[in-house]
C-alpha cells in the first residue's frame, strides 16, 4: 500500500513538473525545436494519462483519505528560549486534489489541441505554448499543495501566467491594459490572502494545512481572529474567482486568446478560488461562511443580470462564468461543500466547452465577436452548434446533463440552509439566477446560430472548424452528460463523485460553527489527517452531525428541483419568445426599461466607480506626494541651505552694514564729544578698531556676569 502511495506521490510530482520542463524547453530552445507546440501538447496528454491513473487509484483503491509528502524547506533555527522558526512544505493528494488533477490536465490538454489550429501562425506561437505550460504547472501546484504558503506561491504564479496570456497580443493597448488590470485587481485580493496567512502563521507557527487545522482544533486560534483569518484568506478567492467586488477584471481578461479564456478564465484558474475555499473549509467559522455565502450569491446575481444585456459573445460567457463561480462560492458558504465542488468540476467541462465553441465561431467569423453581426450559423457549423446546445442545456440545469446534477444539489443546499437559518434571501437569489442563466444562454445561441445572418460577407466565408477544434468540443460535450458523475440522472447523492467528495469536519470551536454542524454525539472533532481512520470517523461525524441539514436537503430536494426546472424552462422560453419568434420586440423592451437596461449594460458602472475612486485616488495621491517630495522635503533641505547662505551673506556683509552702522554710531559718539562733528569718519581700519574695542567692552561685561 505504502508503495502505491509513494508511487502516486512520485507520479504527482511528475505531473507537476512535466509542464514546467516544457515551459523551460520552449522558452530557451523554442526556436530550435521543430513543432514545439506538439511537444507541449504531448507533455500535457502524458500528464493527463498519469492524472487519470492517480485519480482512479486514489479514489477507488487507496483507503487513506490523504497521501502526504512533507519536507523542511527553511529552518532559521531558534533564538534561545523562543519558538524556533522553520517552514515545512509539501504536497498532498486527497480525493478532491486527485479529481482536480484530472480536470486541469484534461481541459489543458484539450485546449492545447484546440490551439493547434486556433493559434496557428500567431506571432508568438512558441511563447504561447510556453506560457500555457507555465500556467499548467502553477495550477497543478495549487492543486497539490498541502500548505498555505505553497498555495500562495502558485497562486501568484497562475496570476503571472494569466497576466502574460491575457497580454499575449500586447500590441493592443486594450490587451496590455486588461492584463495589468487583472494582475493588480488580483493583487488586491492577494494582500488579504497574505494577511490571512500571516495571522495563521503567527498564531500557529506553521503553514501546513493539517497542522493548522490541528492547531485550531486545539483552540490555539479562536474567536474573531479565526473568523478574520478565514475571511482574509477568502479574499484571495474573491480576487481569483472574480467575486464581487473584485470581479471587474475577468470580462476584460477576454482580451486574451479564446482558448486561454477557456482554460484559465473559465475552467481552471478562476475555479482555484473555489478550490482554495474548499481546502480551508474546516477552519471557516459560521460568520465567515455567511459572508462567503452572501458574496457568492450577490456575485451570481450581478453577473447574471449583466450577462443578459451583453452583445460580445465572450463577454456574455465571461459574466456567466462569474455568475457560476458565485454559485460555487455560495454553495460552500451554505455548507454544501460537496455540491460546490461538484459544480466546479461540471462547470469546468461545459464552460470550457462553451468558450472553445465560441472560439470556433469566432475563428469561423474571422475574429468577429459581436453577436449582432452573427446569426444563422447553425447550418454552416453543425458540430459547434450542437455542442453549444448541449453545453447551454447543461449550464441551464436541464435534466440528463451534468449541470443539472450539480446545480440542483447546490440549490437544494441553499434551500436547506434557508430553512435552517431562516435566511431565505440566498436561495431566492439562487433560483432567480437559474432563470437568468437559461435566458441569456439561449439568447446567445439564438443570436448566434438561429435566424438570418446579419453580416453576409462574413457569413459566406464562415465554415465548420477543422478536426483539432471540433474533437475537443465533442469530448467536452460528452463530458457534460450525467453518466460520468452519477448513474441516477436525478439524484447524484449515490454517485461515485459525491461519495468520493465528502465534506470534511469543521474544526472551529462549537460556538463558532453553524448550529446544524454540531456533532450531537461525542465524536472528537479533528482534522482527518491526524488519525488513520479519521476518514470514516469524519464521515461518521458527518452522518450524525448533519442529520438536520440532510433531512432539510431531502425535504427540499424534489420541490426545489421542480422549481428550478420550471424556472430554467421559462428562461429558455423567454429567450425564444423575444429573440427567435420575436413575439416581443427586444428594442421595445429595452426602451421600456431604459434606465435598468443602461445600468446593466454598463455593468453596474463598477469600472467607472473604481476608476473614479481607487485608481484616480491613488494616482492623485502619488502625484501630490511626488510634488511634496520634490518641493517640500527637498525644499526643506535646500531651504536650510538657502538659510545658511542667507546667514553667511549677512555675515559676509557684516563688515559693511553692521560695522558701518557702528561707524556711524561711533562717529556720532565722537562728534558728540564736540570734535569733528561735521567730518564723520568712516575709515575702514578705524571701523575695525571700533569694532574690536566694542568687542572688548562686550566681553568685559559678559565677564562681569561670572
Amino acid at each position: 500500500m505504502a508503495s502505491t502511495e509513494s508511487l502516486l506521490l512520485n507520479l504527482a510530482l511528475a505531473v507537476l513538473f512535466l509542464p514546467l520542463a516544457g515551459f523551460a524547453l520552449l522558452i530557451f530552445f523554442g526556436k530550435k525545436i521543430p513543432r514545439q507546440d506538439l511537444v507541449e501538447t504531448g507533455i500535457l496528454f502524458t500528464a493527463l494519462a498519469i492524472s487519470i491513473y492517480i485519480m482512479v487509484q486514489k479514489v477507488f483503491f487507496v483507503s487513506a483519505p490523504t497521501i502526504d509528502l512533507t519536507f523542511k524547506w527553511l529552518d532559521l533555527g531558534a533564538v534561545a528560549g523562543q519558538q524556533g522558526f522553520s517552514i515545512d512544505l509539501g504536497i498532498a493528494i486527497d480525493n478532491i486534489a486527485a479529481i482536480m488533477l484530472v480536470v486541469v490536465t484534461l481541459i489543458s490538454s484539450l485546449v492545447h489541441t484546440f490551439s493547434l489550429a486556433y493559434m496557428e501562425g500567431d506571432v508568438r506561437y512558441t511563447r504561447y505554448y510556453a506560457y500555457l505550460g507555465l500556467f499548467s504547472f502553477s495550477m497543478l501546484g495549487i492543486v497539490l499543495s498541502n500548505n498555505l504558503l505553497m498555495i500562495y506561491v502558485f497562486w501568484e504564479l497562475v496570476g503571472i501566467s494569466s497576466y502574460l496570456l491575457i497580454g499575449h497580443w500586447y500590441e493592443k493597448k486594450s490587451a496590455s491594459d486588461a492584463s495589468k488590470k487583472a494582475f493588480i485587481v488580483n493583487r488586491v485580493g492577494d494582500v488579504g490572502f497574505f494577511i490571512g496567512i500571516m495571522i495563521v502563521f503567527t498564531s500557529l507557527h506553521t503553514f501546513l494545512l493539517r497542522d493548522v487545522f490541528g492547531g485550531i482544533a486545539a483552540q490555539h486560534l479562536t474567536g474573531p481572529l479565526l473568523t478574520a483569518a478565514g475571511i482574509l484568506i477568502f479574499c484571495g478567492a474573491v480576487g481569483k474567482s472574480a467575486q464581487f467586488p473584485l470581479h471587474v477584471w475577468l470580462p476584460d481578461a477576454m482580451e486574451g486568446p479564446t482558448p486561454v479564456s477557456a482554460l484559465i478564465h473559465a475552467a481552471t484558474m478562476v475555479a482555484a478560488g473555489v478550490y482554495l475555499v474548499a481546502r480551508i473549509f474546516p477552519m471557516l467559522t459560521a460568520e465567515a461562511l455567511t459572508v462567503i455565502a452572501y458574496i457568492g450569491a450577490i456575485t451570481a446575481f450581478i453577473a447574471a443580470t449583466i450577462a443578459v444585456t451583453q452583445n460580445d459573445i465572450k463577454k456574455v460567457l465571461a459574466y456567466s462564468t462569474i455568475s457560476q463561480l458565485g454559485y460555487m462560492i455560495m454553495a460552500l458558504g451554505v455548507d454544501a461543500y460537496s455540491a460546490g465542488f461538484f459544480h466546479l468540476v461540471t462547470h469546468a467541462a461545459f464552460k470550457a466547452g462553451l468558450f472553445l465553441a465560441s472560439g470556433s465561431v469566432i475563428y469561423a467569423m474571422h475574429h468577429e465577436q459581436d453577436m449582432r453581426n452573427m446569426g444563422g450559423l447553425r447550418k454552416k457549423m453543425p458540430i459547434t452548434y450542437w455542442a453549444f446546445v448541449i453545453f447551454s442545456l447543461s449550464i441551464s440545469g436541464i435534466p440528463f446533463t451534468s449541470g443539472f446534477l450539480s446545480k440542483d444539489s447546490i440549490l437544494a443546499g441553499a434551500l436547506a440552509y434557508g430553512l435552517l437559518t431562516g435566511n431565505y434571501l440566498i436561495p431566492i437569489i439562487g433560483y432567480l439566477v437559474v432563470f437568468l442563466t437559461a435566458a441569456y444562454m439561449f439568447r446567445l445561441i439564438i443570436m448566434t446560430f438561429h435566424g438570418e445572418p446579419r453580416d453576409h460577407h462574413k457569413y459566406e466565408h464562415a465554415k465548420e472548424s477543422p478536426k483539432v477544434m471540433t474533437v475537443p468540443l465533442i469530448v467536452l460535450a460528452s463530458l457534460s452528460i450525467f453518466v460520468f458523475y452519477s448513474f441516477n440522472p436525478f439524484n447524484p447523492e449515490k454517485g461515485w463523485f459525491l461519495q468520493a467528495v465528502q465534506q470534511p469536519a469543521s474544526v472551529v470551536p462549537a460556538a463558532q460553527s453553524y448550529g446544524f454542524d454540531q456533532p450531537v454525539n461525542d465524536v472528537q472533532v479533528t482534522s482527518p489527517q491526524q488519525q488513520p481512520n479519521a476518514a470514516e470517523l469524519s464521515v461518521e461525524a458527518q452522518k450524525t452531525e448533519t442529520t438536520r441539514y440532510e433531512e432539510a436537503m431531502e425535504a427540499v430536494h424534489y420541490p426545489g428541483l421542480a422549481l428550478s426546472l420550471t424556472l430554467a424552462v421559462l428562461g429558455i422560453l423567454a429567450a425564444f419568445v423575444v429573440y427567435d419568434w420575436k413575439k416581443i420586440d427586444a428594442e421595445k423592451l429595452k426602451q421600456r426599461v431604459k434606465p435598468v437596461y443602461t445600468f446593466l449594460y454598463n455593468k453596474w458602472y463598477f469600472d467607472e466607480l473604481y476608476d473614479a475612486t481607487a485608481v484616480a485616488g491613488t494616482l492623485l495621491l502619488s502625484k501630490s506626494l511626488a510634488w511634496f517630495d520634490g518641493h517640500v522635503i527637498d525644499g526643506v533641505v535646500n531651504g536650510a541651505a538657502t538659510l545658511t547662505r542667507l546667514w553667511s551673506t549677512l555675515s559676509g556683509k557684516f563688515d559693511h552694514y553692521i560695522v558701518d552702522g557702528l561707524v556711524n554710531f561711533s562717529a556720532w559718539f565722537t562728534g558728540f564729544l564736540g570734535k569733528a562733528t561735521r567730518r564723520v569718519q568712516t575709515g575702514k581700519v578705524q571701523t575695525y578698531i571700533v569694532f574690536a574695542l566694542l568687542g572688548v567692552i562686550v566681553i568685559f561685561y559678559v565677564f562681569r556676569q561670572f
Binding site: 559693511h656 561711533s666 578705524q686
Partner: protein, 104 residues
Amino acid sequence: MTVHVGLTQFLVVSAILFSLGIFGVMTRKNAIMVLMGIELILNAANINFVAFTRFGLMNLSGQVTAVFVIILAAAEAAVLLAIVLNMFQQINTVNVDEVDKLKN
C-alpha cells in the same frame, strides 16, 4: 602749601591719555595722527608702569619695561611712517579712509 601728588593722580592722567589715544586712533583721518593716538596709548601704559614702581614700593621691573616700551614705540613708529610714506608715493594720500580697496 603743597599739593600731594599720589598714585591716583598718575593713574587718572594715564587713563585720560589712554582714552584720548583710543579716541585719536578711532577718529583721526590722517595716518600720522592715528600713529600719534597709538603713541598715546603706549605712553599711558608707560606712565602706569613708572607710577606703579614709584608708589607701589615694588621691584624695578616696571621702570625697565617702560624703557623697553619707549624703544619699541620708536621702532613701531618708524615702521608705520615708512609704510605711510610708501603709501603716499603709491596713491598720493595719507588718508586712512581712502585705503579701502580690500574688502568682501
